[in-house]
Amino acid sequence: MSQMTAVLEKDVKEFLRDKVILFFTFALPIFFVLVTPLMWGDIPPEAVPPLKGGLSLTMITFMMMIAGQSNLAGSVTADRERGLYLKIISMPVTPLKEAMGRICGVVVFTLIGAFGVVMLGVAYGAQYTYELISVVESLGFFFLIAIAATGIGLIIASLIKGESAATHTGIALTLLTAFLGGMFVPYSMLPPFLQVIARIHPIPSANASIVFLLQGAEFVDYDPLILGQIGLTIGESCALFVIGLMLYSKLCWRKM
């Protein structure tokens, strides 16, 4: 347990002390929360608060994607570049415990940011209408987003050499997923092939489920809670996580 908490603490501190990471993970979603409502044109005033609520929830997903896909990938590659793995391979540490510590670090870091986004959203007029059971169900979908994003982050870290390349790949993938997966544009406005991506990709799908549960069906335009859709989201998230862990253990912890 002390090994996992050591890695968690190290990663969270590193994330919080890196200005670039802070900008992309915290400032960018906050910027979207503040600026996006200014671009909403003919929306009835009574619809704005719940829309702002949905937007801030989406930004928590976005934050988790940046933390998992970009920050985690960058952190692993930076550690690899400076020889940390040579040191820890020689120590009585297992790749699984170390990786779990890193993943918990991403979750804790995102929670810090999520708290800020929700508070800012409330201050900015966001409205959340929910029941306790919906919150619990939503946490399950946030968990799926966390494991899918960290799985992708570990895949990027294992396959791409260089901190800068890994970080930027993670950011690019996050932006692509968010735009093509309908996280910034209403599902109904997406062309049919992007609607397919929005439903197939586990992160936009889980995000739609959260908005559906916490804000209502009218904010999603399709039902992401049908059994087949949930099964696909769970299966893909777990698969990404397992593939990420396997690649990470095999490639980053590889003996010479």
Binding site: S2, K87, I89, M91
Partner: protein
């Protein structure tokens, strides 16, 4: 005395290229052993195998009688592995917790180790503000956790300025005096002089090992004539070779080292010959042989 490290017939090949050839080596508990060799001689591969970072193609490594003894080893690779965004104390706490110590134990250990490695004054400063020498001392501090008995240091003084190097080597010597077994990988003879025993590795084979003084005696080298010149050409080297025994002339960064039985006697002739070919000298001296000289005498290869 117990064997701290026993390496038996270890070989390592990358593809068809052999890097280590049947290396057998024993280091006793409490010993300070320096392994010297030029780049590509296999010394880093050997220490990586001991640290479990690299698997041998053949052979076995036992540490204090155990095949898997990660908790007894502290390996300090060449790279600066400490996190620049964390403080010195946070870095040590991180590694202490990875060794299995609780958070409170790790905090107490980090404070005591920082004191021992003379970094307690900068314990709360980020490692990015440390000098190269301070950072290396911090990383070697990971070898001071209770339970780690064998410290593996891979070229730790590379890149350190002379004063940082001396301070660092003093710390290593103190650690050895306090019972830590040390294996130092180096290509610097002065660093290896501190060791109780030195091994020379060349092309994957340990070619000699003994105390530094015995190695010098065995090499048969007397004092060495050192010459620093403004230019270094084949013509200068050829001129100097005629004054050495068996044409043993070592090219160094600033000039040449000439191995001969009576350097004082040949000195005037060397000066005259260099004057004749127009080679300007900046310094001429007669020195005791170094371990690099001994290595060169034994292998005819330059160690750095």
């Amino acid at each position: 005395m117990m064997n701290a490290l026993f390496i038996e017939n270890v070989s390592k090949s990358y593809g068809t290229t052999p890097v280590l050839k049947n290396v057998t080596l024993t280091i006793k508990e409490g010993e300070f052993y320096a392994l010297m060799g030029p780049n590509g001689s296999g010394k880093t591969t050997l220490v990586s195998i001991i640290a479990s970072v690299c698997s041998p193609t053949e052979g076995t490594v036992t540490v204090y009688g155990q095949n898997d003894a990660k908790e007894l080893i502290s390996y300090v690779p060449q790279e600066n592995f400490s996190s620049p965004l964390l403080t010195g104390k946070e870095n040590l706490m991180y590694f202490a917790q990875l060794y299995g110590f609780s958070r409170n134990e790790a905090a107490a250990l980090a404070a005591s180790i920082l004191d021992k490695i003379r970094l307690s004054g900068v314990a709360e400063a980020k490692v990015s503000t440390y000098s190269g020498g301070m950072r290396k001392r911090l990383e070697v501090g990971t070898g001071l956790f209770p339970g780690t008995k064998l410290l593996l240091l891979d070229e730790p003084t590379t890149g350190l300025d002379p004063s940082a190097r001396r301070e660092f080597l003093g710390m290593i010597s103190d650690m050895n005096d306090n019972g830590k077994t040390i294996l130092l990988i180096t290509h610097i003879g002065e660093d290896a002089e501190l060791a109780s025993r030195v091994g020379f590795i060349d092309e994957g084979v340990i070619v000699a090992e003994d105390t530094p003084d015995e190695l010098k005696k065995k090499s048969g080298l007397n004092n060495v004539l050192t010459i620093e010149t403004l230019i270094m050409t084949e013509k200068v080297a050829d001129t100097l070779k005629q004054f050495s025994d068996n044409e043993k002339v070592l090219k160094t960064e600033k000039g040449y080292r000439i191995y001969c039985e009576h350097p004082d006697e040949v000195l005037p002739y060397v000066v005259r010959s260099l004057d004749r070919i127009g080679c300007k000298k900046t310094k001429i001296d007669v020195e005791a042989p170094s371990l690099e000289d001994v290595f060169f005498a034994l292998t005819k290869r330059v160690i750095r």
